[in-house]
């Protein structure tokens, strides 16, 4: 019969239904018949909205997770199709909204791919400015991971403190580009505008106090026995499994493989900076947490070095065929006016070709594939989003653990559904 409480118990006391058995006091030493039943539980797309709209169909045996099937697509916006309809520079705001926490990284991957197709040189100052913004975005992304991860673990104070630090970084973004999120600051060939006066002072003020803040945030978690018990030794995945699943980023580094594209295939002047790659040992949740915390500190070092060595020069390529001329030139030079007109109405044309440009985003390898067919609109833009590939490791990470461990696994996985669904 379908009512599970009325089924006769197979191996327990004869002739008693589940309810009667429950009422009897002989349960303690019995093999509970329910333990052979599998329950399918739907952690639906709407759940406490820290990680976005991810649907997990979990198969439980008691409290143990036996199988997870992630169902995605609940925030699929068809951005890649939209990109085929717009001029190359108009694609930048669209592409930024994919992985909506690391917006500068999306723009960087896309601009890098287009610059590869154009064989365009990005001036040194622009590269350093890009690095500063990228590393600030990495810190902001890790802070949000920490904040929402802490919320999942129950450490709510971390939530408030993490967001407070994020607001300082968003103020810096607002200073350089006028918008807190999705600022379309990176353009093909450089950055949209030079940094204003006072920017360097503000960033230095932030980086001066931030390492202490990271220590304070870590103190809130690291010595808390409950958090340590939930994270230490839980969910370890070895590096070979991760490599076969295509996982990169802090998850791979926590398992001991020091693969970081900033060091391995440096782009945008990362080779000029001296920083370390934090690497974990066994790849459990504690390692993942420590790796990201240390990455925040390393990012602060990179930002300081970039500010120290910020060269003078152009903030965008001087090639007027691809970058808008400065406005004061429009009054005097006819060519500047024509270039401006062509760039704004039609956009620049890219010779036919295909390029794949990978960078290291806070979640792993973010690669942008752009195919151009000679016109002023891209023929295909595809983001190889790290969260999309990393999600495949969730069933491996949370297999045969408790539901509570599944929640921690999701938190440590750091998925961003905007990037997964695009």
């Amino acid at each position: 019969m379908s009512d599970i409480t009325q089924r006769p118990a197979p191996s327990a006391i004869e002739g008693m239904s589940y309810r009667e058995m429950e009422a009897s006091h002989e349960l303690a030493h019995l093999e509970h018949p329910e333990h052979e039943e599998l329950l399918t539980l739907n952690l639906g797309p709407h759940h406490p909205a820290t990680h976005g709209v991810l649907r997990l169909i979990t198969t439980l045996e008691g409290e143990m997770v036996r199988d997870i099937k992630p169902v995605i697509g609940y925030v699929h916006t068809g951005i890649e199709k939209n990109c085929e309809d717009k001029a190359y520079w108009k694609v930048i705001p669209l592409v930024e909204r994919m992985d909506y926490l690391s917006y500068y990284f999306n723009a960087m991957a896309y601009c890098g791919a287009v610059e590869t197709l154009l064989d365009l040189e990005v001036p040194k100052r622009a590269q350093y400015l890009r690095v500063i913004h990228l590393e600030l975005n990495r810190i902001a992304s890790h802070l949000l991971w920490l904040a929402t991860g802490g919320l999942d673990l129950g450490a709510m104070s971390v939530f408030w403190y993490g967001w407070k630090e994020r607001d300082l970084i968003l103020d810096i973004f607002e200073m350089s580009s006028g918008q807190r999120m999705h600022p379309r600051y990176f353009q093909v060939g450089g950055v949209a505008e030079d940094i204003p006066a006072g920017f360097e002072a503000k960033v230095r003020k932030f980086t001066a106090q931030f390492p202490k803040r990271v220590d304070q945030l870590e103190n809130l978690i690291s010595s808390n026995q409950i958090v340590l018990q939930r994270m230490r030794g839980v969910g370890p995945v070895d590096a070979d499994t991760l490599l076969s699943l295509g996982v990169t980023g802090p998850l791979l580094r926590a398992a001991g493989n020091p693969w970081d594209l900033r060091k391995a295939q440096p782009y945008s002047s990362y080779e000029d900076f001296d920083f370390k790659i934090p690497v974990g040992t066994i790849g459990d949740h504690y390692d993942r947490y420590r790796v990201r915390m240390q990455e925040m500190r390393e990012s602060v070092r990179i930002i300081n070095q970039a500010l120290d060595g910020l060269p003078e020069g152009d903030y965008i390529t001087p090639d007027r065929k691809y970058a808008l001329p400065p406005r004061h030139e429009l009054a005097t030079s006819m060519e500047a006016l024509i270039h401006h007109f062509k760039l704004v109405t039609e956009g620049f044309r890219v010779p036919p070709g295909e390029a794949y440009y990978p960078i290291e985003s806070p979640r792993g390898e973010l690669g942008c594939f752009v195919r151009s067919d000679g016109s002023s609109k891209p023929a295909r833009v595809h983001m190889r989003d790290p969260s999309f590939v990393n999600l495949q490791m969730l069933p491996v990470m949370a297999q045969d653990t408790y539901i509570a461990d599944l929640i921690v696994a999701l938190a440590m996985l750091d998925p961003i559904l905007g990037g997964i669904d695009r």
Binding site: H47, Y74, G78, Y100, M181
Partner: protein
């Protein structure tokens, strides 16, 4: 409902003591009639039950945690210490739709998600309101394509907050506007306040739009007025 704050006395210590004594007398039943009535009058607000209920509802939203995409980040930024909607009373985000009365649809609604949004909205209990936060949920936003749907198409939205994503200040402005709508004191709209009549996208003399009829399903909007109170 007008809440008038009144300074009782001039803050003198002796005066405060006198008022304390009077309160004690009142509780003990020792104040005689005219004093008693005056005492109560000074401290009582008279209103209708409905207005009091609206005042309470508007000041104590419980938003449902409905973050979909980037706007959710700015919604969470509105909750934390810089913008702090807790000072208005809205920090109690409820995960269960049965306990929530405000749904801030923050982010793009894909066609796969739309039935889920509708179901969660249906699970909320009356009275409930919905704010479409951001450009994607109000209109189609930056992405006008096959995969997303604006929130108006399948659920009654009381307030749209434009922006991509709207700053926390913009969201707070929107929530306060909704609060004013619920208190039956709707904002007149900038066109009336700043003399912008005639800048509408459609010509009001050619196209007849009856706002009451257009908002007939929309409870809070219908309660509101579009002409100044007499």
């Amino acid at each position: 409902m007008e809440v008038v704050r009144q300074r009782l006395g001039n803050g003198d210590k002796g005066e405060f003591r006198a008022r304390q004594m009077r309160a004690r007398d009142m509780l003990n039943g020792e104040l005689d009639n005219p004093d008693f009535e005056k005492y109560v009058e000074e401290r009582l607000m008279t209103t209708t039950l409905e207005k009091a209920g609206n005042w309470a509802r508007g000041n104590a939203f419980m938003p449902a945690t409905f973050g979909l995409a980037c706007c959710a980040i700015e919604m969470m930024a509105a909750v934390n210490s810089r913008m702090d909607i807790a000072r208005f009373g809205f920090e109690a985000f409820r995960a269960s739709p049965r306990q929530a009365d405000l749904m801030i649809i923050s982010g793009r609604i894909s066609i796969k998600m739309a039935p889920v949004v509708r179901r969660v909205y249906d699970q909320m209990l009356e009275p409930k309101w919905a704010i479409a936060m951001g450009a994607c949920s109000s209109s189609m936003g930056v992405f006008n394509n096959y995969a997303i749907v604006p929130a108006d198409k399948f659920l009654p939205v009381d307030l749209h907050v434009p922006g991509c994503p709207p700053r926390p200040e913009a969201l707070v402005y929107g929530i306060l506007k909704l609060r004013a709508m619920i208190h039956d004191r709707p904002d007149l709209g900038w066109r009336t306040r700043y003399g912008g009549r005639g800048t509408e996208e459609f010509d009001p003399s050619v196209l007849e739009v009856d706002p009451q009829a257009a908002n007939a399903d929309n409870v809070a909007g219908a309660m509101g007025r579009t002409t100044p109170r007499a």
